[in-house]
Amino acid sequence: MAKYKMHLLVCGGTSCRASASDSIIEKFKSEIAANGLENDVQVILTGCFGFCENGPIVKVLPDNTFYTQVKPEDVTEIIAEHVIKGKKVNRLIYNPEQKKGSKSKGFYRKQIRIALRNCGVINPENVDEYIARDGYQAIGKVLKDYTPAQAIDIIKKSGLRGRGGGGFPTGLKWEIASKNAADQKYVVCNADEGDPGAFMDRSVLEGDPHSVLEAMAICGYCIGATQGVIYIRAEYPLAITRLKIAINQAREYGLLGKDILGSGFDFDITLRYGAGAFVCGEETSLIHSMEGLRGEPTNKPPFPAESGYLGKPTNVNNVETFASVPVIILKGADWFSSIGTEKSKGTKVFALAGKINNVGLIEVPMGTTLREVIFEIGGGIKNGKKFKAAQTGGPSGGCLTEKHLDTPIDFDNLIAAGSMMGSGGMIVMDEDDCMVSIAKFFLDFTVEESCGKCAPCRIGNKRLYEILERITNGEGTMEELERLRNLSLVIKDTSLCGLGQTSPNPVLSTMDNFYHEYLAHVNDKKCPAGQCKSLMKYVIEPEACVGCTACARNCPVNAISGERKKPHVIDTAICIKCGACIEKCKFNAISIK
């Protein structure tokens, strides 16, 4: 039925385009025409292959040949040899062996989907599809073959660490909860994904809810709990709907409820809704919120594993952590620990966003470098701009810069680099982003989300914000820069919970990496990225201005005056720096100084 015998897929990702994929297409088309192959071979421009470092990419179907670094000059050869004679052009075929330090075992793809294994594959509203992909086999196996201690041992050996941010070893957490005796214990899934710019957990819950349910049941068996609670953001209606469907279907099959798979083990799951409080990502706050209270944290210890929900031992893990569990049980601890770095095993899901071409959800082995994530999977920076920083760990994290591009991403390296893994949001910034403003943006967030219980976080973050605002307004002093650092360190050192203990990170990290930008704001009263409105001045170059009046007519505050056909002037006292004049000027006569 196929009309064409052969397809040539040419990568149309941004960076391949930059390296001449357009002319490759043109060349292919003309070669095909020249050889009279129009009815047999079709050339198709595709999206990004996520392999930009080796672009431009050409893939040949149906034989799945994968050519890298193709130049327009290579086109004739591909047509002549591969298309016409059926002989592959070996020198262009991707050969991973040649690539130094490649860990991808001959596989060109950078991503391995473990937590996301079923996302985009199965219908999340149909439990049968989950079962067909080995769903609920892991809980079955655990119940039949393992004691709780043995199952915990597998998780411990796998090296799985909490994906919510802290990176605490999951197996150890379960072990502690299992050893605290109580008449009732609870398994809690933290689905209160609050980092702005992070949507990993939402995607897992929307795409593969059963994997979380199964893992919670496994956890329940391990620690001796029969009740599970998923604490989910109310802002995720679709995830909630799908979870509800999944729980009902699992109950109907007896995969939740009494006597699961004839084992005598009971486990059921209910939902609790968050209500818009970032601090509820912190486990003690989350538990208070589950109890119908203000989501204020309490001092640890006691840890939830000793005294948690309703005062009972409680194990809290996040969505991605749970989603990794069933596979580990089925494929073994060794398999999982073979992926990743020495101290960070397995894969990590990142929500790649910001000034990047391929915004999306990715899952990479621990140890993948930032360069691979941004320039290959992410397809590079939008509009060909220069990479400046990647923010990980959300408001608790810091930024990674050019010098970190080749650092393997794992829990410990990120902390060493002054950031943190966080839950997996990764926001990419380019040369146009002012790092002082970014720090201010995150502090604005923290000030709004601080619960207000402890003084350093409640008042300290407000003061940090105020200083940052002064700096971005050009009112900052060197003394304030110093205070900024001392305040940041004390807030970290003295705050009650994880929110305050990490909230100054964006400040410290940007100060460490972009101190010159701070200095420029403070000393020169300049914003190098041209973002800080107060430090900008719109000026009309008299030489370039022809007096067309377009700017004056479009100025919303009438800040521009001047006679027709004579150079205009902007009254900076009135100007609100909206930029409307620049857009309307056809002569590039207006500049920002």
């Binding site: 818009g276 204020e296 000034k355 926001i427 995150f442």
Partner: protein
């Protein structure tokens, strides 16, 4: 907090009591009760909180303490078309602030306010998880992606 006095009708009180009952009048279910109530009433005026407090046997102060802790709960009625601008990081770096400014300018309301005609209310939210579409704006249930300041007028036009 501004206090707009609301007279609850008998059937509204009955409905409230039903909601509380459906959660067994458990104090621990307060947040779920508030969610359900806000879903039904659109917002949580003082009078509603008082009924809930009584039904769940917690102090009104505690209920108010919870309502004011969580940004999802509101004591001010939203506009007919509630507009939310995502100010998550991804949207921020892609210019959400300018979009927000444009909404503020055209509607002449501040964040958290409702336009005098009750048609639009403006609020910010943190990440709907649609970062691929940044900057994102939601009006009611509808989500608009890749919004530019220029596009604000067109969005509002849809609701005229």
């Amino acid at each position: 907090m501004s206090h707009i006095k609301v007279e609850l009708k008998q059937e509204q009180i009955t409905k409230l009591k039903e909601i509380c009952k459906s959660f067994d009048n458990e104090a621990g279910e307060l947040i779920n009760v508030l969610h359900k109530t806000q879903e039904t009433f659109g917002y949580l005026p003082a009078e509603v909180q008082e009924v809930i407090a009584r039904e769940l046997n917690v102090s009104v102060a505690k209920v108010y303490g919870v309502v004011t802790f969580y940004s999802f709960f509101t004591m001010i009625p939203k506009g007919k078309h509630p507009i939310s601008i995502c100010t998550g990081t991804a949207c921020y770096v892609r210019g959400a602030e300018k979009v927000l400014d444009e909404f503020k300018r055209i509607l002449d309301v501040k964040v958290g306010e409702t336009s005098p005609d009750g048609k639009f209310s403006l609020s910010c939210l943190r990440c709907v998880g649609a970062c691929g579409l940044a900057p994102v704006v939601s009006v009611g249930d509808k989500i608009y992606g890749r919004v530019s300041p220029d596009g604000v007028k067109d969005i509002l036009k849809e609701y005229e």
